[in-house]
């Protein structure tokens, strides 16, 4: 039974009928596709637990939840379907959007580091056309591919002020690069030779985040965080740009009316509108301020092998900052998951599945994503 569950978890990752990771066809616009790196537990609860998740990167105070040294990682595999008007296409990808390590330095002070996807710039577009060259019609195929993205490296410290209060401070470094490759083929005429050129863009920026938890009642935790970013510097082969980055605010509630029942929700606001003028100056479409909401439920009614196996359900909705053809892009997903604990709680695996879609105007991308998160406390 246990072995079967293990393989079921693997199957959830890869055999889901339609899945998304952090990639999207809409990542071609703006700075890329805004990621939402979540642990397997938070993903199963629709992101509602993100603000309180010790493995998350939203609130630096969240690592105060760790009572010992811990390392964690999440992997996500996805399949997407997208119809650009010429027939539905199935896309797949695999990412490892989050990993980190944290350890207490004292009974009250916990420090940690984490790396997570911030903006994803993995996409590939292929177009066919017919040109008139040397007085003849020549079929051409253009493929533009981007690979890479921007990673958020965070060093954080959290301090348990009292039994009711915890605060945290995070220092963020945004770093990464993307390589764009342009290729033109002449599939029907060997007289013409293919052309390919690539260009790399490097990204850098810094940010600071602060967070707080308050426990007004034994079953309720309130949380809030804010993140301030400097401009993001994008440096290409022969040009560069500086993009204002958003102020990011988040607030949430954690409610556990029963020991085996948890309700959690997180609301976030990101002032991406600040980047609009810089993006327009760089030849991109405008960006907008965005909201996101996640709600989730965890019930630990199922037991397996003497261990509680929490079941999770959730829903999330969010706006994405970069406009597509002047229209806003929204995303929503239903989520479900479960947690498996081993080694007396020192080795945990959380599995989640998301079913959702994102759409703008008449364009819709449907996705299914499987997330597997692992945390190890040696």
């Amino acid at each position: 039974m246990r072995r079967a569950l293990g393989w079921l978890a693997a199957a959830l990752v890869c055999a889901a009928p339609h899945a998304r990771a952090q990639d999207s066809v809409f990542g071609i616009r703006g700075l890329g596709f805004l990621d939402e790196p979540l642990t397997g537990r938070s993903a199963g609860m629709g992101g509602g637990y993100a603000l309180f998740d010790g493995g998350g990167v939203t609130n630096p105070a969240s690592i105060a939840a760790w009572t010992g040294a811990v390392g964690w990682a999440a992997g996500a595999a996805s399949r997407r379907t997208f119809d650009p008007g010429t027939g539905a296409q199935s896309l797949t990808s695999t990412r490892f959007p989050l990993f980190g390590f944290s350890t207490p330095l004292s009974p009250r002070l916990v420090v940690g580091i984490a790396a997570s996807d911030y903006l994803d710039r993995n996409w590939s577009v292929e177009q066919a056309d017919t040109l008139t060259l040397r007085d003849s019609a020549v079929a051409v195929t253009d493929a533009t591919t981007s690979a890479g993205g921007i990673t958020d490296l965070r060093a954080a410290a959290a301090y348990r002020v009292s039994g009711q209060w915890a605060v945290g401070l995070g220092l963020h470094v945004l770093t990464g690069s993307s390589v764009t490759t342009v290729r033109r083929d002449f599939p029907a005429d060997t007289s013409y030779h293919s052309f390919q050129e690539r260009s790399s863009t490097d990204y850098s920026g810094v940010g600071v985040s602060v967070g707080v938890f308050a426990t007004p009642a034994p079953t309720v935790i309130l949380g809030a965080s804010a993140r301030f970013n400097t401009r993001l510097k994008a440096t290409g082969a022969d040009t560069s740009a500086r993009i204002r980055m958003p102020l990011e605010l988040a607030a949430g509630v954690y409610y556990a009316p029963l020991p085996s029942l948890i309700f959690s929700s997180t609301v976030r606001y990101s002032a991406w509108g600040a980047a609009a003028s810089d993006l327009v100056a760089a030849g991109q479409e405008r960006s907008r301020d965005v909201w996101s909401v996640g709600v989730g439920l965890q019930a630990a009614s199922l037991r397996m092998g003497g261990q509680a196996v929490p079941l999770r359900l959730g829903y999330r909705w969010r706006q994405l900052p970069f406009l597509i053809g002047g229209n806003g892009l929204n995303e929503h997903a239903f989520t479900a998951g479960l947690g498996l604990a081993g080694a007396r709680g020192r080795a945990n695996m959380d599995v989640a599945v998301e079913l959702g879609s994102r759409s703008t105007g008449v364009l819709t991308e449907r996705f299914t994503m499987a997330v597997v998160g692992v945390s190890i406390q040696p």
């Binding site: 246990r2 072995r3 293990g6 393989w7 693997a10 990752v13 890869c14 990639d23 066809v25 071609i28 703006g30 992997g75 595999a77 650009p84 008007g85 296409q89 199935s90 896309l91 797949t92 990808s93 695999t94 590939s124 577009v125 292929e126 060259l133 040397r134 533009t144 591919t145 981007s146 764009t180 342009v182 033109r184 002449f186 007289s191 030779h193 052309f195 390919q196 050129e197 863009t201 990204y203 994008a234 440096t235 290409g236 082969a237 040009t239 740009a241 760089a282 030849g283 991109q284 003497g306 597509i324 053809g325 081993g342 020192r346 080795a347 945990n348 695996m349 599995v351 364009l363 597997v372």
Partner: protein, 410 residues
């Protein structure tokens, strides 16, 4: 137990995630919403005078290095073949302990490898003449004419006929029984071959170079053991003689190409060198997707009927004038088929050559190319094109290239 289960589950899931899931991100573009900014911009231009200078030189493959020997009685080209064979032995060993002495020559055969002939020309006959063994290897057609007089004729009316049905392959001809080394020639047989036919034509036979079989003489001889004091012809033997030197001489001598002419091919083989001057927009372009060298023939392409051949434009590694080194990778060359009698424009695709010049290894190469026939030395075919001084018929270059692509940030 629980610990083992957790590790197995995590391992299985992550292994599957790593190995079992592929990545396919490619979608069809939906413009303008989901198309990348900027597009590939092509430009097509005809460069009317891309060649700064040209030279043609003959002599890359000499007559004696050619794979064929040419006998011709064409009005436009007279040619005779000169052969010097190995020494005819006067003794041989029928067994490991016996020695035989050459007696009577019963018959002689000359085996030729026909490389090419005009099948429309009938009644071809190879006529054999005696030559002094030590004829001058640098001789000319005119100097050899005295040796092709009636007095030197070795042929008889029964010898030298090539069946009309034979277009290529090996033929063995009866040679006169009197074909023996001349006195004072140290047993060396030297022959001159000329051609007689019903209508003027040319015949190419193998020379022994480049793997093409050379003419061979077979002597069917009788002899006797050296111990046989009665000299009874009790032994027979076939002695074969391979040539030690083969060449042919022709008139008129092709000489060096005239100034302003791009000459390729022929024997001795000619090559032409073109030094290009490319405009900045082509040099600075991202990539050449098609480049075509356009040549104009000066006169119809020469050669045997149906003897098409390849014209190649090959990059040069170092420009030392006539002794320039060709770039060793022949796959870079642009090629075009030429057909005897063809005239007008000839186009060669030299895109690979431009691509080579655009690489870091090829950037230091001179923007110079050599025109030559392929393979050299095994064809009589030749072509002459108009050079840079010809004005309207001068070489042109048509280039389709990608303008500088702007990626932009972010």
């Amino acid at each position: 137990m629980a610990r083992t289960f957790a590790w197995r589950s995590a391992g299985a899931a992550l292994l599957a995630a790593l190995a079992g899931c592929g990545t396919d991100l490619t979608t069809a573009g939906r413009c303008p919403e989901l198309c990348p900014p900027g597009s590939v911009q092509l430009a097509d231009t005809l460069l009317a005078s891309p060649v700064l200078s040209d030279t043609s030189v003959r002599g890359y493959v000499l007559v004696r290095e050619a794979s064929f020997l040419l006998a011709s009685n064409l009005d436009s080209l007279k040619s005779v073949v000169l052969l010097r064979f190995d020494t005819l032995r006067t003794r041989w060993n029928p067994t490991t302990t016996d020695t035989a002495v050459l007696g009577v020559v019963d018959s002689v055969r000359l085996q030729l490898s026909i490389v090419q002939r005009d099948t429309a020309a009938k009644a071809l006959r190879v006529v054999l003449h005696r030559l002094p063994a030590q004829f001058d290897t640098g001789t000319t057609y005119d100097l050899m004419q005295p040796f092709f007089a009636d007095s030197t004729l070795w042929d008889t009316t029964a010898a030298g006929g090539i069946p009309d049905t034979v277009a290529s392959g090996t033929v063995t001809l009866a040679a006169p029984d009197t074909l023996r080394p001349l006195a004072g020639d140290s047993g060396i047989v030297a022959l001159g071959l000329s051609l007689v036919s019903a209508t003027p034509t040319a015949l190419a036979i193998g020379s022994g170079n480049q793997g093409v079989p050379a003419p061979v003489l077979f002597f069917y001889v009788h002899g006797h053991l050296i111990s046989d004091t009665l000299h009874k012809d009790t032994l027979s033997r076939v002695l074969s003689l391979q040539p030690t030197f083969t060449t042919f001489v022709m008139s008129p001598d092709p000489g060096q190409p005239a100034s302003g002419v791009l000459a390729v091919g022929g024997i001795p083989t000619a090559r032409a060198t073109l030094r290009l001057g490319l405009p900045k927009e082509v040099v600075d372009s991202n990539a050449i997707v098609r480049a075509t060298l356009i040549l104009t023939t000066l006169d119809p392409v020469a050669g045997f009927a149906r003897d098409s051949f390849l014209l190649a434009a090959q990059p040069i590694l170092r420009d030392f004038g006539p002794k320039s080194l060709l770039y060793p990778d022949s796959s870079i060359a642009g090629v075009a088929w030429l057909h005897p009698g063809q005239s007008g424009q000839v186009q060669l695709d030299i895109t690979r050559l431009f691509r080579l010049w655009g690489t870091t290894t090829g950037d230091s190469l001179p923007r110079t190319l050599a025109l030559r026939v392929v393979p050299e030395g095994s064809l009589l075919s030749a072509a002459n094109f108009r050079g840079v001084a010809a004005g309207a018929g001068a070489p042109q270059l048509r280039v389709t290239y990608v303008r500088r692509h702007t990626f932009g940030v972010p």
